[in-house]
């Protein structure tokens, strides 16, 4: 396995190492374009124990969504509601499997979550609002298309 990796999802506050507890970082293998998990324990140095990320995708998505939630709390923004969180989770699962790269996941100042993605150099924005509205925007160079969608319409757009 090629070990040149980028620490993509380095936790803000890495958990303190405890005896017998396995900690991990999710990383991206620049050659294989896959996410991998580095696990380590107090007895191992970071990067010694590579494992497949198969099956851990959900945990990674949960962390990304949790991060957006935390940021909303820190900046006293309207907290994204459960429906938005569930929908964000479902959309992330779908788009990650389709080769979209996640640029940003942030809380929206208007209440909700903004996903910003890239695929083949085309920029995508999906904004989920707490009131149920969804905006889908696609930018390719100077050309922009934008849609007000419902859940069904969004899944049609992202295939």
């Amino acid at each position: 396995m090629n070990q040149e990796v980028l620490l993509k999802y380095l936790p803000k506050n890495p958990p303190r190492l405890q005896k017998g507890v396995v900690n991990y970082f999710v990383t991206r293998n620049l050659y294989a374009f896959t996410d991998e998990v580095i696990t380590f324990s107090p007895d191992n140095s970071v990067g010694q124990d590579f494992k497949s990320s198969f099956g851990l995708e959900s945990r990674q998505i949960d962390r990304l969504v949790e991060s957006a939630l935390r940021k909303a709390g820190e900046f006293e923004m309207e907290i994204p509601n459960q429906k938005v969180l569930n929908l964000t989770n479902s959309v992330l699962k779908k788009i990650i499997s389709q080769g979209f790269l996640i640029d940003f996941i942030n809380p929206s100042v208007e209440g909700g979550i903004i996903l910003e993605l890239d695929r083949y150099g085309i920029y995508y924005l999906i904004e989920f609002f707490n009131d149920g509205d969804i905006v889908f925007l696609k930018r390719n160079g100077d050309n922009r298309e934008v849609f007000d969608l419902d859940e069904e319409g969004l899944f049609e757009q992202i295939g």
């Binding site: 900046f75 940003f104 903004i114 922009r144 849609f147 007000d148």
Partner: protein, 193 residues
Amino acid sequence: MVIIEKFLIWMKKVFSSKSGESKLRVSNSICDSLRIPSHLHRNGRAIDDEFGEELIYRRFLAPGLNSDWLKSRQLSSSIFEVKNDSCNRSKYSNSPHDVLYNVRIEDEGKHYLSWGILSINSKAFSLFTFQVNGTTRTFSLKLSHDPLDCMFPHSEIIVLEAGIRIDTSKPKSVKAVIRDYLITECEIVKFPS
């Protein structure tokens, strides 16, 4: 804060609630008490709606680490709020940092010193065309000088369609696409600290 200033705040609120906007002038002493530099005070200066080639400054608050909203030269749309269309123009600013002063009297001089600053060239405010819900629509952005008593450079970004000012809150797609247009025209002047 001294009693007279509190009284003026109360008066300002009363006027605002009755007329929709305050007609009450805030004195330079109140601007001074908010620790806003004198070059930013209006001092009776007239509105200047002639925007030549100048820069427009906006403050922004970005959650998380820089990498949460900046990647290469790509800025996250999350840091640009269209609902808040306030900005400062460079023509009447001594420094981009002037946009970090908080002129709300009720906030008693709590400025936004840790916030970041974006700049946009006024040349970006021109006609542009987008596909909105499958329909081609042409918008234009206009700058309007809207001086405040303690912040003379204060201006607003106005969105027009066919020459008529539109409400960008609905549909949400219009707001999103205008925000996307503006964010791609922005440069970072100061990172949040």
